[in-house]
């Protein structure tokens, strides 16, 4: 049976892992390879690396650390950050990433999703969506969220974008609910459930994990395939082995195995 995935997210800035609160005020959490190995050893099912300043600065992800991670890591990992073309995506995949995730560049030019899916297959094309509820009650997407001074609200409705992204060839959707990000009050179950109803590809919840029960809620109530979190893992507030053990006891199918020697 397919397991539900626990996915630590590592925001990368200037070659270090950082974490902000509501996408602002970043502090350095540690070295990329060191944290990647730690999470691998703890039983993470997958890792996501976001080069959070690549897109606002108009550059692609730095491939040197992608290759360093690929050499030592034996679980899948996804890389995001300013990938704007098939050639840039190919370079990141060749450096050893298993999947690439596109967010702002796909909003700039949605045909990028079609091109990536045609070149590499939908299975390695992830579309990241940063979404926030507006005053009128609609969820809409945000662009360039890695840099608060450049973050833009777009007229595009989140639910419309989820449908379009799949039609164009997204093989997985990561939904970052910005309103709940970094504040540890739980995933946005209402928004995740609304997106789940329209999402036929794997859906990953992002933003808001604070307790093990929040992960259970995302799996049991919003039926997401994976749950992504950063600060609770980086800070040690939640340890992945204990989280998985507890989720299994609640009836969630999770991968559990012995750690590395």
């Amino acid at each position: 049976m397919l397991s539900r995935r626990i996915i630590p997210c590592l925001d990368v800035r200037d070659g270090k892992v950082v974490k902000g609160v509501r996408f602002r005020d970043h502090v350095v959490m540690g070295e990329i390879v060191e944290l990647a190995l730690r999470y691998r050893d703890e039983g993470a099912d997958e890792l996501v690396f976001y080069d959070i300043t690549a897109s606002p600065e108009g550059r692609s992800v730095d491939r040197a650390w992608v290759e360093r991670v690929a050499r030592v890591i034996d679980i899948p990992f996804c890389v995001a950050g300013g990938i704007r073309s098939v050639d840039e995506a190919r370079a990141v995949l060749h450096a050893g990433a298993d999947k690439i995730s596109v967010n702002s560049p796909a909003l700039e030019r949605p045909a990028l999703i079609d091109e990536l899916a045609a070149a590499f297959g939908v299975q390695c094309v992830v579309v990241g969506v940063d979404s926030l509820r507006d005053a009128d009650g609609e969820w809409r997407v945000r662009q360039y969220t890695g840099d608060p001074s450049r973050t833009q609200a777009l007229p595009r409705r989140t639910l419309d974008w989820i449908v379009e992204a799949q039609q164009r060839g997204a093989g997985e959707i990561v939904l970052n609910c910005m309103g709940s990000d970094g504040v540890r009050q739980g995933y946005d179950l209402e928004q995740l459930s609304a997106v789940r109803a329209l999402c036929q590809v794997p859906l990953i919840a992002s933003g808001g994990a604070g307790t093990p029960a929040h992960f259970l809620d995302a799996f049991a109530q919003a039926d997401v395939d994976g749950a992504l979190a950063a600060s609770v893992f980086h800070s040690g507030a939640i340890a992945i082995p204990e989280l998985k053990h507890w989720l299994a006891a609640q009836g969630v199918v999770v991968r559990q195995e012995q750690g590395h020697d």
Binding site: L2, G121, Q200, V201, P202, D225, G226, E257
Partner: protein, 196 residues
Amino acid sequence: MSVVLVDAGGTNIGSVRYALQRLGADAALTADAAAIRAADKVILPGVGAAGPGMARLRQLGLVDVLRSLTQPVLGVCLGMQLLCSHSEEGDTACLDVIPARVQRFQEHPGLRVPHMGWNHLRARRTHPLLAGLGEQDWAYFVHSYAVPAGEYALATSDYDGEFAAVIARDNFHGMQFHPERSAQVGARLLKNFLDL
């Protein structure tokens, strides 16, 4: 022992190569027919679509080379599918060294395609490639097409029914999942292949 990775444009070549390095095997990346014929072990990686994958092998003049190999060959993910007779993906005729047909998972409410994530491997036959495989071992899958469980399936996995996770016929072997990304279980199975 010499191991070659067939460079057919697959994007996971780097990851497979690093996984082999972690096992102490330095695999050369090549599309050269003579180098492939001379190797002790041949690995055909590949992420992408069947049609372009076969087109690339034809362009490189490797179709007959690969079909005629007698040393152990391992296809990974798309590489495994290319060893089969035919893929529904783009209605593509493949290498036909394992008589099996590759079919698409049919989406329906509750079944998400691609099949992406960790799933259990279940051994169906005894084979040195599966040495040491436990009953509750997990492997990492990312695919939308699969070979239904049949006579060449050494191990299966379950996603809307059983499909072949590991297949073999004579010297040709395939793994639908990514051993290079399946933690210790994957490393064990790759080591088993190197030890064949």
